[in-house]
Subunit: 192 residues, 2 copies
DNA sequence: TCGCCTGCCTAGCGACGCTAGTCTCGTGCC
DNA sequence: GGCACGAGACTAGCGTCGCTAGGCAGGCGA
């Protein structure tokens, strides 16, 4: 029994090692450097071991994405904690979102760009994803018009933020006026 | 001299054949099916021929993207042609943008998702890209507040549209309420 | 007519994600 | 204590990718 338990502990430990290694590799050298061969080498096991933990590379990226979702949720929540509800909170929220993407490009890509097979926007979605969306939705409650559907409002606001991030990160929008663009967006959604 | 000219004509013709074939392959089977081997087979030349026309696969995708930009510009311009300037034109513009993405996913991805190395938002940008942005910017002129910088306004509006398209296409936003989201976005940017 | 040069092809390099098949070693039973 | 078994890891390799080296042929100018 104890042997069994030790094995399960070891497996769980190695599972986490794989995710952490993938994340670190992605953060330092980009996702294109995260290959199953390199990953195997880093964790000092052979490639097939990866497949005893995950169904494929996609699922490993998905696991990193979930870590990212947890941290994004925390960052958003923390950003609005000391800010009065209303437009100021929305501004802080938007700033925190963009900063998160800027500071954690690998996590951001895993979450919102790469193919992970994760289920979004569903009751059966992983908790970190739902938490992150909730953290985004919450501060918006105070600025929507009387007509608005909160979920839809948050989705559109999120889309706009994601568009800014994605287009900027891929070089399609110049980094230069990023702040002004963000201010403009916030003004449109939170008034004044 | 005439021989020389015929050769250049042939080369130009083959150049276009490569782009058209890549585009068709991407439209029918997705970009992951566009490989240099398949492309070479389809145009009935060997792989190295591709590299005498383009520096690499990236540049081929870029050529398709430019076709996409031209057609997107035309679609946007056409969409607002018979619509009175103002909020109605912005609504038509947004609808046309989203419809274009929906109907031409391969072109859209080449333009705004894949790595093409194209230079955006610069005086030296390819004309089709500048035209497309202009087509987007133009109808917005009538709805921006007195304070607003037209370029920045258009960039943010574009970002929001792109965010909606990207997140929906990747399954991160449910298709279900897409229309309502688009309406909400237009309302925020063009007023009532 | 000869030699060169352009333009194409065959073949192959290193890397990718993933898997089949083998072997070793710890475990539980006689 | 010796042995059969099975879990779990490994080596090796499959098919595919983007890209390129090197050689061959056919048309051009001298």
């Amino acid at each position: 029994m104890s042997v069994q338990e030790r094995r399960e502990r070891d497996r769980a430990h190695r599972h986490q090692l794989i995710v952490a290694t993938a994340r670190e590799l992605a953060e330092t050298q980009g996702w294109e450097a995260v290959t199953t061969r390199r990953l195997a080498e880093r964790i000092e096991y052979s490639q097939p071991v990866l497949y005893s933990h995950f169904s494929g590379k996609r699922e490993i990226v998905g696991a990193v994405a979930l870590e990212g979702a947890t941290e994004l949720a925390a960052a958003l929540t923390h950003a609005v904690a000391d800010v009065p509800r209303g437009p100021a909170a929305v501004a802080a929220l938007a700033r925190a979102y963009v900063d998160f993407a800027e500071r954690n490009p690998a996590l951001y890509d895993a979450l919102f760009l790469l193919d992970t097979g994760l289920l979004f926007a569903d009751a059966a979605s992983p908790a970190p994803l739902r938490d992150a969306f909730q953290a985004l939705l919450d501060p918006l409650a105070d600025v929507l018009g009387e007509d608005a559907d909160p979920d839809r409002f948050a989705e559109v606001f999120w889309s706009a933020l994601h568009g800014l991030v994605a287009l900027t990160r891929s070089g399609r929008l110049p980094r230069e006026a990023a702040d002004r663009r963000l201010d403009l967006l916030v003004a449109r959604f939170a008034g004044g």
